[in-house]
Symmetry: C2
Subunit: 341 residues, 2 copies
DNA sequence: CTGAAAGCGCTTACAG
DNA sequence: CTGAAAGCGCTTACAG
């Protein structure tokens, strides 16, 4: 068993005393916020070292009115999607010297017992919002307070000029579906939608429709189901199609997880992929190329999206201007699951 | 272009004024830290609501000497390993009402320009350390200050009584290797070590050796290479074995990423898995069961490890006692890559 | 280049 | 049950 023994820490006054200067001067050498005589700097530095002094973040925040931290609101941490996204956000935050506070709870911005919000104006200087859990009205409230906000994969509520960064979902999907149509002659292409209300999915569906329309293929509503960007749900959806005897020559999984589930269902039912049914995804998650067959998909710059979102947020925090909306390019990645050799 | 317009916020004094009470009273109703007359409570609550008041975290921290936040130090965010680990840590933190601050930089605990540490005594109440980047001496320094610390996948520097949580690496690996030996008659089993100095890998190697010894199989040093828990490095290592004409009837990838690389190298060289060479991993990452062939591996309770580590840290922070070391059980997961049907 | 002082927004004894 | 006051450890005008 281990118990903790508390311990006194050096403060700015201790340093000032030891160095024989005022705390203002210590603050100045620590922050390089005003010129200080060389000799004085040396004394202060030495005192800092011998006392192992480290400034107290909360005191700084309170006195200086900034936390040096950005917050991230996530729906939940799972799936291959998150690692690259977090890496990008971390990179964006760090390169500007900001810390990252994350909240993946489903109850985010729910009040806590003590009445404070888990992630709000006071522990972060701004918020990156990637979740449907935050309602439009909560977003409005923060926005009206002038609190810096950047949305990921989600457009702002009507009338609010909040920056958002998303992928070029529609064009990417359209290119993918057209490849299926043109190169592989597919005409009955199943579409697996994402979770309800998901905007990425909304645009992908538009791209899907455009591709069909452009090639004179009528839209068949029975070819639409919900995979929810979830392997299991996608598998169930495709299994249901198969059970109902719905003819398919391809299925677009909505994302790579959905494609994975689709492949499972197909193979389980004895269909060969891609010989009997082509399958394609979206994201190009690290595992996509390792699947059997390797997955044809649309590469989304997930990491870059995270980094850009973080950078934009920090620009806003620092009083700068930010683009109101960023659409990151996507790229078709052709592998074998579509039928290409 | 979007620019930010700042905005005034209500403070505890505003609330006190509006409610016609002192700030002490407001503090008491907000924190439920002392009995307050019902009527007063109502007035204060009402004032809080009309002013949309939210306590300032930094002020609370400064006055109350706690941040309500735990920090996490990671080497880098990548691989299928991280999502479950983060999920567990988040869960552990949240259930105790703590926030999570993460740092995945390689330069962690490196001083910043302003002399403050990115993650230290002042922005967090305790630290979860899962990285080799933090040297033993840095850990000692924090420990000596009485700063709550919990180590993940790493034992404390000699003499320091710091709690750590790890997997049952040795026993799990031994069971796995014995399965290869007993069920599949393997005798020339390649071992792919993790990154240099990695403790998980160290124990897995001991388990590997024990298994061989228990079955009278001599240790062949040429059967050891470094995969670094990385797909590409593992692939290169196995490719090198093949090129050198080293005979193998199985390879243990060190972890699932390593196993993935091994399978790639083997298949690329025309060897069938598992008919020609069996392959096994460690972790049972979400994708393991989806690989071709489905991967035989050792299931590590990654998410639980994260949660336990967070809980233990919070126990320490709250002045409680914590186990000095937690060894989480692992479980053999037999699929097809070992040769089982 | 340097210091004294006010103030950031809270919590927490101390009185009553 | 309630308030006045000190103090948490800094930053930042204001003087000099």
């Amino acid at each position: 068993m281990i118990a903790q023994r508390p311990n006194k820490r050096a403060t700015i006054s201790d340093v000032a005393k030891l160095a024989g200067v005022s705390i203002s001067t210590v603050s100045r050498v620590v922050n390089e916020t005003a010129p200080v005589a060389d000799e004085t700097v040396q004394q202060v530095r030495h005192a800092i070292e011998t006392l192992d002094y480290t400034p107290h973040a909360a005191a700084r925040t309170l006195a200086g009115r900034r936390t040096g931290t950005i917050g991230l609101l996530l729906p939940e941490i799972s799936g291959a999607f998150y690692a690259p996204m977090l890496r990008g956000i971390e990179a964006g935050a760090l390169e500007a010297g900001f810390d990252l506070l994350i909240h993946a709870s489903s109850a985010v911005l729910q009040e806590r017992g003590n009445g404070s919000l888990p992630l709000a104006e006071h522990n972060v200087d701004g918020l990156l919002v990637f979740t449907d859990r935050l309602t439009d009205s909560e977003i409005s409230r923060l926005y009206r307070r002038g609190f810096p906000l950047v949305l990921l994969h989600r457009t702002p509520p009507a009338g609010l000029d909040i920056p958002c960064v998303t992928f070029e979902n529609k064009a990417g999907t359209r290119r993918l579906i057209e490849h299926l149509i043109i190169a592989h002659g597919c005409r009955r292409i199943g579409f697996l939608a994402g979770p309800d209300g998901n905007e990425d999915s909304y645009w992908r569906e538009l791209g899907y429709r455009e591709a069909l329309a452009a090639h004179g293929i009528p839209l068949d509503p029975s070819l639409r189901s919900v995979g929810a960007f979830d392997e299991e749900q996608a598998e169930a959806a495709v299994a249901a199609w198969l059970r109902q005897g719905i003819e398919l020559d391809a299925v677009f999984g909505g994302d790579d997880e959905g494609a994975t589930g689709a492949i499972q269902a197909l193979q389980r039912a004895g269909r060969r992929v891609p010989q009997d049914v082509a399958v394609a995804g979206f994201d190009d998650v690290p595992f996509a190329r390792l699947m059997t067959p390797p997955l044809t998909t649309v590469r989304a710059p997930i990491e870059m999206a995270g980094q850009q979102a973080a950078s934009q947020l920090i620009t806003l925090i620092q009083g700068g201007e930010s683009d109101s909306s960023t659409l990151l390019p996507t790229e078709l990645v052709i592998r074998r699951s579509c039928g290409c050799a």
